[in-house]
């Protein structure tokens, strides 16, 4: 039997004897017999490490991974360069085998790292305060909505936009239905790939608790965040900016600078592998007015009984374990280790390096977009400015395109028709700083090849 139980059968017998029991069965008296399983679980037989490596190695090998395939897919999950030092530090088991730092004296390491993460999120977003993490970008959006419709407010509608990540919107709707608030979506301007501001304007009224937009939006396009700010605040609504690509903050104005009240989003791309979409890390930053309405853990600086600086989890009266049904959120376990990776990542590349990665993503995406849009049959779908993602209409269904690309060593783009039926044969490509010019050129010429094939057939 494979087990991590150290005690041997003999030791367990000895322990049982000390309890006056003969067998484990004696300890299970309070579990009614007929509720017992009374058979072995129907699971595959145990497998040793050697067997697991074989079996799971094979399973892993069935997936096309980004070491062996060049990725041009983003759509909410972004491949960026991870310095070797990041996993080295994050894998220190004092971090990953610890619980939430409930006993601060023996958990200063994690507490300080959380405080650093909070600070970094403030620096990136230009806001005053940030929490220790939420589950992911989509639930961070939902938590922002919950804050907005919370008790102090009385307003019951959240306005968002079709230009926001479809998955984020789905989650928002799920939470809205349960909590009992309304969500309305502004239309998409299919010319620019940005939110139709007239539509947005028309949805605003005195029940609008918050407006949630995404910058860059799902199409990679840049919203007119200044005009939107005016629209939102004119109605005294909360201005919430969602960010799924944190690298955009290297070159784009931070939400705090253009009047956002909350900035929430997904920080996975900072030092974490794409890992089939999880674990990521939701971040939640706000103006300091919202400090007592924040969801999730907050690490704060304080002093100890010897006058030394130290860190603790603070403002816990917001939280479920103290406030219970009146808590600001139900979150308990969060995504601390992913936040730690983001912290180490940002400290590793630093001020210059982060800006550089951001600028290189921008440049390379534009280089790729310009070359792809010159291929016969491939056209830029939207006229708006963009960061590192762009939509292209193609001469064929995207599913077919992607399968062909996969055979040639590429992970293609996101098929926009999956979420926007009106955008047929339109693909969303992403190019980050990880792609070299040679790789982009190879991708462009692969697309050119397929363009010829399709041309020949039609």
């Amino acid at each position: 039997m494979n087990t991590y139980v150290p005690s041997t059968a003999a030791e367990q017998q000895e322990m049982l004897r000390s309890l006056g029991a003969e067998s484990i069965e004696d300890l299970l008296q309070s579990v009614p017999k007929h509720l017992r399983l009374n058979r072995a679980l129907n699971l595959p037989p145990g497998a040793s490490e050697v067997e697991l490596r074989r079996a799971l190695g094979k399973m892993a090998a069935k997936n096309a991974n980004l070491d062996e395939h060049l990725c041009f897919l983003g759509a909410g999950v972004y491949e960026h360069y991870i310095p070797a030092v990041v996993p080295h530090l994050v894998k220190r088991s004092e971090f990953y085998t610890a619980y939430t730092p409930y006993q601060p004296e023996m958990s200063q390491g994690m507490l300080q790292a959380i405080y650093e993460f909070q600070t970094l999120m403030c620096q990136l977003t230009g806001l005053d305060i940030a929490n220790a993490s939420l589950y992911d970008g989509s639930t961070a959006v939902a938590e922002a909505a919950l804050l907005a419709v919370g008790p102090t407010n009385g307003r019951g509608t959240i306005v968002t936009t079709r230009a926001m990540d479809p998955q984020y919107r789905q989650v928002l709707h799920t939470y809205a239905h349960a909590r009992g608030f309304d969500v309305q979506e502004a239309a998409l301007d299919v010319r620019t790939g940005t939110t139709d501001l007239e539509s947005l304007n028309s949805l605003m009224d005195d029940d609008t608790a918050a407006v949630i937009i995404q910058q860059p939006n799902f199409f990679g396009a840049l919203e007119d965040v200044h005009t939107i700010e005016k629209i939102v605040h004119r109605e005294d609504a909360l201005y919430v900016v969602a960010i799924s690509e944190p690298f955009s903050l290297g070159v784009l104005e931070p939400p705090g600078a253009y009047g956002a009240d909350l900035a929430v989003g997904e920080g996975m791309a900072l030092g974490n592998p794409v890992s089939y979409g999880g674990p990521g890390v939701g971040f939640f930053a706000a103006k300091k007015d919202y400090i007592r309405r924040m969801p999730g853990r907050l690490a704060g600086k304080t002093v100890d009984n010897r006058g030394q600086t130290g860190y603790v989890l603070t403002l816990q009266t917001r939280e479920q374990h103290i406030r219970r049904e009146r808590a600001t959120s139900n979150i308990c376990t969060n995504q601390a280790l992913v936040a730690l990776a983001a912290t180490v990542y940002l400290a590793s590349v630093g001020k210059e390096g982060f800006r550089d990665a951001s600028a290189q993503s921008l440049q390379k995406a534009h280089y790729a977009q310009q070359h792809i849009s010159r291929i016969p049959g491939f056209h830029t779908a939207f006229s708006g400015h963009f960061f590192n993602e762009f939509a292209i209409t193609c001469p064929m269904p995207i599913y077919d395109l992607n399968l062909w690309l996969a055979e040639h060593g590429f992970i293609g783009g996101y098929d926009l028709a999956r979420s926007y039926p009106e955008l047929e044969n339109t693909v969303l490509f992403c190019v980050t700083e990880t792609r070299s010019k040679d790789e982009i050129d190879a991708f462009v010429s692969a697309l050119a090849d397929i363009s010829q094939t399709v041309g020949a057939h039609s």
Partner: protein
Amino acid sequence: MSTESLIFEKGAPGRRGATLPALDVPEQALDALIPAALQRKTPASLPEVSEIELVRHYTHLSQRNFSVDTGFYPLGSCTMKYNPKINEEIQALPGFARIHPLQEESTAQGAIQMLYELEQYLCEIAGMQRFTLQPAAGAHGEITGLMVIKAYHESRGEGYRNVIIIPDNAHGTNPASATLADYQIEQVRSDARGNMDVEALKAVLNDHVAGIMMTNPNTLGVFDENIETIARLVHEAGGQLYYDGANANAILGITRPGDMGFDVVHLNLHKTCSVPHGGGGPGAGPIGVKEHLVPFLPGPLPAKNENGYFWEDVGEQSIGRVRANYGNFLALVRAYTYIRFHGPDGMRHISDSAILNANYIMHALKDAYELPYDRTCMHESVFSANWQKEHGIHATDVAKRLIDFNIHPPTIYFPLIVPEALMIEPTETETKETLDNFIAVMHQIAEEAKTNPNVLLEAPHFTPVGRLDQALAARKPDLCWVGA
């Protein structure tokens, strides 16, 4: 080693760690790509440190953090078991860590297969029909489960059901989740044996009840012997039963929530299935449901046909997604590896051993600490520091003194119904020597409480910082470094 400055206080202007290759595409003017009004004016004031500074800083921070790998961590309700290193190795394979959630299904067959099989294993373990793997943690599972229950009632025209029953020993996430799902809470007291008081339950049952949330074994560490009655009563009242699986480490292969009568269950894979707690997360809190609730699950769900594995959309009745993509995938890989490692016998042995270890400790400490519910426990036991109070000693002082012995304190002040609670969960992965040492230390502390209470009140003595001023932290919140 007694202070470590912030990363922001280290380094110097112009220093940096990792760098990128020079830009290899023709550079275009920033203004040509992004309107000036949307550009960042000044770079974020991120740290400027070299790699050696970075490494020393976070290595030092790690050394200032207690963990399972450095010592005994009997933190009740948290199941701080050993986190196998093979799980870490497997989840780091490029075929798992370096795949994109939106790449075509045909290029992710191994991933979908794994999740498909994991779902089957969890169904078998919990006695459920189907699971969604989306929830990122227990509390996330709770809100998801409550949404499912709500959608179910609505589908039957019983959307008016607006009450969730919660025992008085429930974890804080239970009522918080109920609020999130727009439910009112009815609290039901426990009886003298630590079971739910069935008469009290009856008193709150009516046709406004949407359901009940319970752990079993409950947070007192004991198995609720009335569970069948409770299930019958709640079902008769038209309610659904939600199982908070935080304590599932006690039941593997012994009994199943489904067989007890629960309709929805979440499992904390970061507890039961050894996903490392990560200093606070990420975890995984998948929920399973009985057949009648399957239509309401969030989608997509992993499926299989003659062409292979794929993501199947769920129907109209689904509550919708509760997060982007498919869950905390790498946490799920670890849980899958863990279950495959153990197999049926190994899984059962986990719970048997967890129960044995908990009873061994409980039995040995009874003479030194008050045991409010004196019955055989399951995987944890709840003591009280009540006897120590007469010496001016509280649960927190016992906790802080344990730190001096390189032992993480038990969970304290929870469950709320036990004053001065000390909730001790040793888990199955500890040796008898470790348990014996803990018992000896706890006896010593009980003795010290009488003879030398100051040594408790001033504890901990050997940590880089002493007791911290929580009140100050809350009164003048400093959550973000703004410069020296």
